[in-house]
């Protein structure tokens, strides 16, 4: 099994738990230097010229490995990528030398308007071509391999001609990018579209997974009273997702795992507890070697 290597070998992200860095915790992290494996930031929050965000991230970066996660590149848009934004992403990467860089299989900008959500795409040849062009462009500008994250979705398109798994595998095959496997997103999408989350994980291209995300979701109901999970990153990781995560690690082996908690951000100690739980799974789960499909 060939694990994808961090493309910047001098700043690797360890196969341990990391936490999404929030301004609420800057001072406490610097004061207490918690034993956390790494941090991840949203690239867009560090695209200002100067001030506190750069001040604190620079100081924290001196002590911890860093992963940069973009949320605004709109890779799934039909329109060309915003080259100014891509250059800003490159500046963030040049400045902070992250061990991993990731973005989403989603779109968020259309006709010059930014919708600030990760919107779904139909899985067909047309979208595949567009997404691959965009990923090629990102990897050329950044001069490194990026990871693409599987989405959480609430609707499907009847214009889809491929499964999400086939779509992701085709992207990896064409562009050479890696994958960020968001296990919560798998649980959310599997519930929302009534498929088997475990089967999805089993069929996921494990050898290309460079990072895992774990976040919280909220319970809701769809139009027909069916279960609908909302990916809100506003609570602790659900037990069902912890179970799916342990299964994922048994298939993928130990992979850097991020605790994402972006809304109603809790005290630092709560995030440390979530990270400790992920670290236990990472260290105690034995890998079941399953022949790659």
């Amino acid at each position: 099994m060939s694990r994808i290597e961090n493309t910047d070998g001098s700043n690797p992200i360890p196969a341990r738990a990391g936490v999404g860095l929030k301004p609420e915790h800057y001072a406490e992290i610097l004061d207490t230097r918690p034993a956390i494996g790494w941090f991840e930031v949203h690239a867009e929050n560090y695209m200002g010229a100067g001030g506190a965000p750069h001040h604190f991230l620079t100081a924290i970066r001196e002590h911890y490995p860093l992963s940069v996660h973009g949320v605004g590149l709109s890779i799934g848009a039909d329109a060309p990528l915003d080259t100014d934004h891509l250059n800003s992403l490159k500046q963030v990467c040049d400045r902070y030398e992250p061990g991993l860089v990731s973005e989403h299989l989603a779109w968020s900008t259309h006709d010059g308007v930014y919708l600030n959500d990760l919107l779904p795409v139909p899985y067909n040849a047309e979208t595949l071509g567009r997404v691959c062009e965009h990923i090629d462009q990102v990897q050329e500008v950044l001069r490194r391999r990026m990871l693409l994250e599987n989405p959480s979705t609430y609707i499907r398109f009847d214009g889809s001609e491929m499964s999400e798994l086939d779509f992701l595998a085709a992207i990896v095959g064409r562009t050479g990018c890696g994958l960020l496997l968001d296990v919560n997103n798998v649980q959310v999408s599997a519930t929302n579209h009534a498929y088997d989350a475990v089967a999805y994980i089993d069929a996921f291209p494990h050898q290309h997974v460079g990072e895992i995300h774990l976040g919280g979701h909220a319970d809701d109901e769809g139009d027909d009273g069916e279960p609908l999970l909302i990916d809100d990153h506003g609570s602790a990781v659900a037990d069902i997702v912890w179970n799916l995560y342990a299964h994922t690690i048994s298939r993928c082996g130990p992979v850097p795992t991020l605790i994402e908690w972006d809304n109603d951000v809790p005290a630092w100690a709560v995030l440390m507890d979530e990270a400790a739980r992920a670290d236990i799974v990472l260290s105690e789960t034995s890998v079941q070697h399953v022949a790659a499909e």
């Binding site: 010229a49 001040h55 329109a79 259309h110 930014y114 047309e126 398109f157 214009g159 769809g222 609908l228």
Partner: protein, 256 residues
């Protein structure tokens, strides 16, 4: 036009138009055009952007109350959605929007409070630069001082208002029950600085804003002092210059 482009045009239109039908081709495993499911995207877009504005304009939000602010922000988002994925840049038009937003017409100072909060945001993210030390003032030769030009610190912002905007802002930025501010008490000008990483808002003496504007426009110290004196006969050059340097508003000075 590609199919993907059409799909995204229809999707974006339906997100921003609550009455619009769910676009054809969007399905759940149980039905076509699932309205409630599509509504999750609508909700995500609005709630997240309203939350950005709430964080950016906390005093406007406090003045209006949470529900009124959210309703106001929703109208702003609908008519002025962000044009950049870098959300620290979102909200620059909010003060102009408030000026003409009928439901807040009885709060004529509200737009100026929003202007101050936007200036605070610009200062927070402005480029880093070391301000000149207070000793720099002592080193100025009195004979040549009038011909100096000043480089303002990149974080410097000015907010001029016909209302006591600095007092309203500072009273509502503090914890606890705010004291009543008489909105008719006269205008105030605010200077926003960020010599290190902490943003500070200062109430300028009369003539101070005209002085700083003139310096920012490249006028010499002597010319800027004249502009300030034209506006305010009691303008104290020595005190204003010392205050500017002490607040970290000056990044450099040189002979014209």
């Amino acid at each position: 036009m590609s199919r993907l482009s059409d799909t995204q045009t229809g999707f974006a239109h339906a997100v921003f138009n609550a009455d619009a039908a769910v676009p054809e081709g969007i399905v759940s495993h149980l039905r076509r055009q699932p309205r409630k499911r599509f509504g999750v995207y609508r909700n995500n877009v609005y709630v997240s952007l309203i939350s950005v504005l709430e964080g950016r304009f906390p005093v406007v939000s406090r003045l209006l109350g949470e529900d009124f602010f959210k309703a106001t922000a929703r109208v702003f988002v609908e008519h002025h959605p962000p044009t950049s994925p870098v959300l620290m840049r979102y909200g620059g038009g909010f003060s102009e929007f408030l000026e003409t937003f009928e439901p807040v017409a009885d709060l004529p100072w509200l737009a100026d409070v929003a202007r101050l909060e936007w200036a605070w945001n610009l200062a927070y993210h402005a480029a880093d630069k070391d301000p000149v030390a207070p000793e720099a003032l002592a080193a100025i030769e009195p004979a040549s001082a009038g011909s100096l030009v000043f480089e303002l610190h990149p974080a410097v912002q000015l907010v001029r208002s016909a209302f006591p905007v600095v007092s309203i802002w500072s009273e509502h930025s503090k914890d606890g029950e705010p004291e009543h501010i008489d909105a008719g008490a006269g205008g105030e000008d605010g200077l926003i600085v960020r010599p290190g990483i902490a943003v500070e808002v200062r109430h300028l003496p009369r003539g101070g804003a005209a002085f700083i504007s003139a310096l920012a426009g490249g006028k010499t110290l002597g010319e800027a002092a004249e502009v300030a004196l034209d506006e305010e006969a009691s303008f104290d050059l020595q005190a204003n210059l010392a205050g500017l340097i002490a607040s970290g508003a000056i990044a450099g000075l040189r002979p014209a």
